[in-house]
């Protein structure tokens, strides 16, 4: 076994002294446990409906490779610039760092990366031509439709993208105010999607000149027309109220709606906040009326907070009962006072009239923002929800019955079907639609693929995994906080992005949240634990008692030298981020 042997005493040195190293001694044979690098799922990735590989994005960002980090996001989400501004960032709620000090500001870092690409005019590589693609119609050019169109193009399909309005973007373009999502940022990102060869057809309204006969000529249809029809207020004289979404659209189109004076904004969702804050910026005096309490509002806490910062009053536990025009102009708004009946577990509490006297206010206008439903032209099976079958987490399909049996499959996503009507869930819908349509057109069974491409047990599906990328090698275990070796992390304050001044916010539509600098982004990114993902911190290498972790510093890779690794497992325990596993040695 040993390489140096002395046959004769004559060959021996005078005393015991070395003539060779111990490298002949393959101590790997001692091993009964085997450490292995094994990337796992970070909770943020599971938390993100678009299944962005956030931990890996942060690693790339931290390495200063902003372009790679941006492209890594785009593998799963073609709208990081949009999401980096308006996403409700469930990733941050899931962030393990939240248990340590505060979650990483994933959202602002996402925007940083997109803005960086925008500023430098970076373009993603064109889609690889793929054989065997089909023709797909996407109806609705909002986030769901754009995402579907993007991924379908990347998967090698021809895409016709129809929208009722003249420009693509849907709610992003016509429903979200400039101060949250500047038009040029949106236009750049939408442009990247269309540049991939998506054919956009504006002013083609379903139920108008876009017919099911035309759509039946495609191999598949993805319907994501959104919800634009205002929900009824259920109050006497509601015809005197104006539609908040229409108001927002008008502003986005560059019009200056004639609203001034005191305006009652009815609702507690993001649209209500958008309407109130837009009105403020137009010089009106909005007041928000909501039937439940402040803490029950479905709007993002951040939006509520910013609206209140800007000085918008909130009146709660008041439900509109009647709108009466006043002879001198303006309206009397009569509101029923409400009280909380019971606290539902997890859900919103029920409210009932309290029996206290009504409240009457005189206002110059009433604007509703209490939700919306499918527009005319959306098939009843979709609008009613009764004719749909589930095809994914954020995807349904019109049941192939009756007239639909003879048509190509029609998948439905976005706000038409999602419980949580958010940009990122719409994007998830679009991605799921692209995956399911691709699988179907290529003769694969989407349902059987689903488990392997879903990130974690609760997460979205990953395009990277669908395409057999590196995420396919991840162990589908979501790393818990108690599985981290947090001693290697330091307390570091979360760095919120800066905002423009209150005065600027009250008087104009400039974007409220400012771009963060590269140095701030790098500092904030440093806070990321990179749960379950090797970021080459080299603890495994450093603590190895057997010098059995080999590094390729140029390639940035490392591997375990099983010739010598004794399987002690120190590397696995000292991995700060649980990116290794210790397994029984195969016999």
């Amino acid at each position: 076994m040993s390489p140096v042997t002395f046959r004769s005493v004559r060959d021996l040195p005078p005393m015991s002294r070395s003539a060779d190293t111990m490298l002949w001694n393959r101590t790997g044979s001692w091993r009964f446990l085997r450490p292995r690098y094994q990337d796992k799922v970070a909770p943020c990735a599971e938390g993100c409906p678009a299944a962005e590989d956030i931990a890996r994005v942060q690693i790339l960002l931290g390495q200063g490779d902003f372009e790679a980090a941006w492209l890594r996001i785009r593998e799963e989400n073609p709208l990081p610039g949009v999401c980096g501004r308006v996403c409700y960032h469930p990733c941050e709620e899931a962030c393990n760092r939240g248990e340590y000090d505060d979650p990483v500001t994933v959202n602002s870092l996402e925007r940083f990366l997109a803005d960086h690409a925008w500023k430098l005019g970076l373009t993603p590589p064109p889609p690889e031509p793929a054989a065997g693609g089909g023709r797909v119609a996407v109806v609705g050019a909002g986030p769901a439709g754009l995402a579907a169109a993007h991924f379908l193009r990347r998967l090698g399909h021809e895409v016709d993208l129809f929208d009722a309005r003249d420009e693509p973007g849907g709610l992003l373009r016509y429903g979200i105010p400039e101060y949250r999502l500047p038009m040029d940022a949106l236009a750049w990102e939408v442009g990247l999607i269309l540049n991939d060869g998506v054919r956009f057809h504006g002013n083609r309204r379903l139920g108008g000149d876009l017919t099911w006969d035309e759509l039946s000529g495609y191999d598949a249809v993805f319907l994501a027309a959104g919800t634009w029809k205002p929900a009824p207020l259920g109050a006497e004289g509601e015809e005197h109220a104006r539609d908040g979404l229409a108001l927002l659209e008008a502003i986005r189109r560059g019009e200056t709606p004639e609203v001034s004076g005191k305006v009652a904004v009815i609702g507690g969702g993001n649209t209500a906040m958008d309407v109130a804050r837009s009105l403020l910026r137009l010089g009106a005096e909005p007041v928000v009326y909501y039937r439940r309490r402040l803490q029950d509002m479905p709007a993002l806490p951040e939006e509520i907070h910013e609206a209140r910062e800007e000085g918008i009053p909130f009146q709660t536990l008041l439900a509109p009962k009647r709108i009466e025009p006043l002879p001198q102009g303006g309206f009397r708004l009569v509101l029923t006072t409400m009280e909380i009946l019971e606290e539902d577990e997890g859900g919103r509490p029920r409210v009932v009239p309290s029996g206290h006297p009504d409240v009457e206010v005189e206002v110059d206008a009433v604007v509703t923002a209490i939700g919306a439903g499918p527009s005319e032209g959306v098939p009843a099976e979709v609008a009613g929800g009764g004719g749909l079958v589930s095809e994914g987490l954020h995807l349904k399909r019109i049941a192939p019955e009756g007239e639909w049996a003879d048509r190509p499959p029609v998948f439905v996503g976005g706000d038409l079907v999602n419980d949580r009507k958010a940009v990122v869930t719409a994007i998830a819908s679009g991605k799921e639609a692209a995956l399911v349509i691709d699988a179907r057109l290529r003769g694969r069974d989407a349902a059987s693929i689903w488990p392997s491409i879903r990130v974690g047990r609760r997460g979205g599906v990953s395009m990277n995994r669908y395409l057999g990328g590196d995420r396919a090698a991840q162990q589908d275990h979501v790393v818990r906080y108690d599985e981290l070796n947090t001693i290697y992390f330091r307390f570091q304050e979360r760095r919120e992005r800066p905002r423009i001044t209150l005065e600027e916010r009250r008087t104009g539509f400039d974007e409220v949240k400012m771009r963060i600098s590269a140095s701030l982004a790098l500092k904030e990114s440093e806070r990321c634990f990179h749960c379950g993902q090797c970021d080459q911190c080299d603890n495994c290498y450093l603590f190895c008692p057997d010098v059995s972790v080999l590094r390729d510093l140029r390639a940035g890779t490392r591997e375990i030298n099983y010739d010598y690794c004794k399987g002690c497992g120190v590397c696995v325990v000292e991995c700060p981020r649980n990116a290794m596993v210790l397994e029984e040695e195969p016999r």
Binding site: F6, V9, L12, P13, P14, M15, S16, R17, S18
Partner: protein, 386 residues
């Protein structure tokens, strides 16, 4: 240059002449004068060496092992309990094949405390792999230090230069001190190859398994055998250069060209006493040849047989004892003679333990007993209070 030197200082000056680089020692009577003088020589810049004043003899030996391992000619001196404390490291020095030279002042082991001459301390280190050279007088002490370095470095084994407590260590005698140039010519700088060297990083003295341990021991034995030849060569070269040589075994005949009926084997300073007794006895009509044994390790078996074999009777005078056996030199000599077809009768006398004087009269008494009707025995005591 002829100087009157104390035996201890003869050691010190020999070390100076040998251009020793590292000295480490711990004080013990009667070794102290050696190292005190060396400390002065180093402090005064006369000797360009490092003097490490350690906290024990064990560390003294460990320190010179470290120094020699790093290629420095090294020296220490000790005695008695100090030597015994070094015991472990004596093995280490030899096993590591380091040519360390030590002056060992023969002193009795306690208890009771006894600081006077007795050879049991050095002879107890018989099996450590150290060469042992016993000296008769101060001149021989000085010369033997130089010879010992040359010999040790030739065969890569440590050497112990042994001198009797007080009789030599504290006695002033006129001594011929050689010139530095002459010594340099005789004893050039030590240039070892197997040393600690960051540019050739090797481990030394690591675990030697049963597969190889025995071969290393064989090599030490081989080196000892080589040392017998080397000693004679070096002794002869020393004689040519300096006019003095000593031999491993030296016969001092009563009458030149004749063989007396009895040979008296002595070691150390007792040889000088024996020379006086030899003259007195001759005047009284008793011829005794004195045989001086200088080299104890390696033991000159062949030479002992050649010199002592022809005698009818051999007296061995041991100022030491191996309890349960007897005089240690006597035992070795009897073993060496055992192979002869016709063997002399050996009289193993033990005398002078713990510094008790061995006078010419003591020797005369021993000779009388050996030539008389003393029955054969394994041990014969002389001067014992009966």
């Amino acid at each position: 240059m002829r100087r009157v030197l104390e035996g201890s200082h003869a050691v010190s000056h020999a070390v100076e002449l040998a251009r020793v680089k590292v000295i480490s020692a711990y004080p013990i009577t009667p070794q102290t004068h050696i190292v005190e003088r060396l400390a002065e020589l180093v402090a005064d810049g006369v000797l360009d060496a490092r003097f490490i004043r350690v906290e024990s003899e064990h560390s003294a030996m460990a320190a010179v092992i470290g120094a020699a391992s790093a290629g420095a000619r090294s020296f220490t001196a000790s005695s008695s309990h100090g030597l015994a404390l070094m015991h472990e490291m004596l093995h280490w020095a030899a096993g590591a094949r380091l040519p360390i030279v030590m002056a060992e002042v023969n002193r009795a082991m306690g208890p009771g405390w006894n600081i006077w001459a007795d050879q049991t301390d050095s002879l107890s280190q018989r099996d450590t792999g150290w060469m042992q050279l016993y000296c008769e007088d101060v001149q021989e002490v000085l010369d033997t230090i130089l010879i010992a370095y040359k010999l040790a470095e030739r065969v890569s084994l440590p050497a112990m230069v042994v001198l009797d407590a007080f009789f030599l260590s504290h006695t002033y005698e006129p001594v011929e001190v050689p010139d530095q140039d002459e010594v340099d010519a005789f004893l050039p700088a030590w240039e070892p190859t197997e040393i600690l060297d960051p540019s050739d990083p090797r481990a030394f003295n690591q675990l030697a398994s049963p597969e190889y341990y025995m071969e290393f021991r064989y090599k030490i034995q081989q080196a000892m055998e080589e040392a017998l030849r080397a000693h004679d060569e070096i002794d002869a070269e020393f004689g040519q250069r300096f006019g003095r040589s000593y031999g491993a075994v030296r016969r001092i005949p009563c009458r030149e060209g004749e063989r007396a009926p009895l040979a008296l084997v002595t070691t150390g300073s007792v040889t000088g006493t024996a020379r006086v007794a030899q003259a007195t006895l001759r005047e009284k009509g008793t011829d005794v040849d004195v045989v001086k044994l200088k080299l104890f390790r390696p033991f000159p078996h062949e030479e002992v047989r050649r010199v002592l074999g022809p005698y009818e009777r051999v007296v061995v005078l041991d100022r030491n004892i191996s309890f349960g056996s007897g005089g240690i030199f006597a035992g070795e000599i009897r073993a060496a003679l055992a192979g002869l077809d016709r063997r002399p009768r050996v009289y193993p006398f033990v005398a002078g333990l713990g510094g008790r004087d061995i006078t010419p009269q003591t020797i005369e008494s021993i000779v009388a007993r050996a030539l008389g009707d003393e029955p054969p025995a394994d041990i014969l005591w002389e001067g014992l209070k009966l």
